[in-house]
């Protein structure tokens, strides 16, 4: 995993713990992965498994109750965890890595025209004048398929799908190297969802940009994925290319996750995963999935490492 010359993002042992009254919440607990140039990676997992915290840890968008925050993050070979906050804000956040947060379409500023909002990051980060920033915003509107005359409208005048496109345009406008999308379509209708994924696919073909797509919707995630990372209880339990993952996942949790997806075109009764994920406050020693795993055996009392198997990684003793 050390070829960080070629990879867009290389993460080593990223840890993000939160302090709470009840104890330490181990939201991200030793995550390592590589993301290639122009690669779109999907992070799958149940709610509360630390997907969003992972995104926030990469972007250093931290709340005040951070306990431990450590690890190494290389962007294009440059270590960014050691940067000072001001340097990070100026040179990385939104300049190199941008994010479309969850429910972004509902967090647009209601008193600013959407065009100005899309232009704003350029004025702040690139010091651009307003007119040229607005022109750039127009170019982004074309990329995401928002009619140009919407530039002077306010957020409430736009439909949900259009607002989501504006949020995506906002993340694209600084020409970042990597975009993190947190549940970009979960509140949208089927056809709007399909439209947004068409937009993302087009961006992927046209621009030099990598994607991290965070979602729990496995079916739609396959629309964009080159590769998949499955998260469980703060850790990545499987990392694989999309083709092999969607046909034959390795980790028992991924297999059960795939089996729980209702399918439109196949006659397969979906199965649900019994039990609940462990609390991030009080994690079991050994494999964190063991209590829900049908293939459990003695070795599972010890924490499995990430085993490598034909360029895929899986954190399970079955594949040792």
């Amino acid at each position: 995993m050390n070829n960080n010359n070629h990879s867009l993002l290389h993460i080593e042992d990223l840890v993000l713990h939160f302090r709470t009254q009840k104890g330490l919440v181990q939201a991200v607990d030793g995550v390592s992965f590589d993301l290639g140039q122009k690669e779109a990676m999907v992070v799958l997992g149940e709610s509360g498994c630390g997907k969003t915290s992972l995104a926030k840890a990469i972007l250093r968008l931290l709340p005040r109750n951070v306990g431990t925050y450590s690890g190494k993050v290389y962007l294009d070979g440059v270590e960014i965890m050691g940067m000072g906050d001001e340097e990070f804000r100026k040179n990385v956040r939104w300049a190199k890595i941008s994010m479309v947060p969850q429910a972004a379409m509902n967090s647009l500023n209601p008193v600013l025209k959407v065009g100005e909002q899309v232009a704003e990051p350029l004025m702040v980060h690139a010091g651009m004048r307003k007119e040229s920033a607005i022109n750039e915003a127009k170019r982004m509107f074309q990329h995401v398929g928002v009619p140009l005359n919407f530039i002077n409208r306010y957020a409430f005048e736009l439909s949900g799908g259009m607002r989501q496109r504006v949020a995506i345009a906002m993340s694209l406008v600084t020409a970042p190297r990597l975009i993190i999308l947190d549940e970009p379509t979960s509140a949208l209708d089927v056809l709007t969802q399909a439209n947004i994924f068409n937009v993302l696919k087009r961006i992927k073909h046209e621009l030099e940009v990598g994607f991290i797509l965070i979602t729990h919707d496995i079916a739609t995630s396959s629309e964009l994925a080159d590769s998949v990372a499955v998260m469980y209880a703060g850790q990545i339990v499987e990392r694989s290319d999309a083709h092999r993952f969607f046909t034959a996942p390795l980790h028992p949790y991924s297999q059960m996750l795939m089996a729980s997806v209702p399918r439109l075109r196949e006659d397969k009764e979906p199965e649900f995963i019994t039990g609940q994920p462990p609390s991030l406050l009080d994690l079991p020693t050994g494999c964190r999935f063991a209590s829900r795993c049908p293939y459990r055996f003695e070795k599972c009392d010890q924490d499995p490492p990430l085993f490598k198997k034909d360029k895929r990684f899986v954190k399970c003793w079955l594949h040792s």
């Binding site: 399909a194 396959s222 999309a242 997806v261 439109l264 649900f272």
Partner: protein, 347 residues
Amino acid sequence: MLANSEMEKNQEVLSVDSKKIARNGALLSVQELRIWFELRRWGFGHAGYVKAVDGVTFDLHEKEAIAIVGESGCGKSSLMRAILGLHMPTKGDVVFQGKKVSQLSGRELRAYRSNVGYVQQDPYGALAPFMDVSRILSEPLIVNGVKSKVEREQRIRKVMEEVKLFPVDDFLRKYPHMLSGGQQQRVVIARSLVLEPKLIVADEPVSMLDASVRVEILKLLRNLQEIHNLAVIYITHDLSTVRYFSERIFVMYAGKLVETALVSDMLKNPLHPYTHALLAGTSDPDAKNAETFKEVPPGEPPSLITPPPGCRFHPRCPHFIEGLCEVEEPPDFELEPQHFTKCWLYK
């Protein structure tokens, strides 16, 4: 189970034949229902109507599960509220067991509501945060005059076991914020069942839940439906869950039912261009999806204040027939038994 659905099919055929004569036999019958909301200007002036539901007709039989599928803003929630007796129809009627819901007196309406359970979309929003589970579940019983505390307790325990909130004693004293999303939704389902209704209206019951819990809740609902012989109206925008849940499916677009069919027929042979678009827009997990673009009809659903003339889908339709689609509204065409569509392609 198989015999059951056979029976329902037969019933269905009967009802279609007798549709024009009488509407007996159906548990719930929605007849030419229109729900229009008046728009006002300056307090008194009239400024038109939002035609949320515009001429919807269907019958629902006992023990039958139907799904209503449509995008947000197509009127499915207004239709649901009219069925629950929360909106007065502008025209047409909702008839439950032979009685018009709009003409029920206060007491009759209460009795009606105890016959119709409601499963809300957002379980956390639907549960009062200051009530524990036992109070949440006893409230409907108190309102409907179950005076004996012992009986209330028994019924609550029974319904909690049915929705699998084990161990019951632990959950009775819990408040909604102490429960996970799936458990909250179980409480909502328990509350809708505690009065032993004949019909359950479930408004996107799983859309706020995690993917892995969704299937569990849907299977639970399906199970309860079979045990209690419930009729269920399942409102959703997610086509992939429909086939596991209901026998018939209604596709709604801009206030109208554009296609109604048995779920299997609909999946095998979708007719209306809008249904085609919905099916094409729904993905199955497959890495090949990433290689192609989806075909999505251009534009957005029309305004319900001034819907397009003729067929309401015509501005977005790939098979638009000039001189017909934008002029005259298509009636229901029956292509297979029980498979209706409002589209001129099938005249």
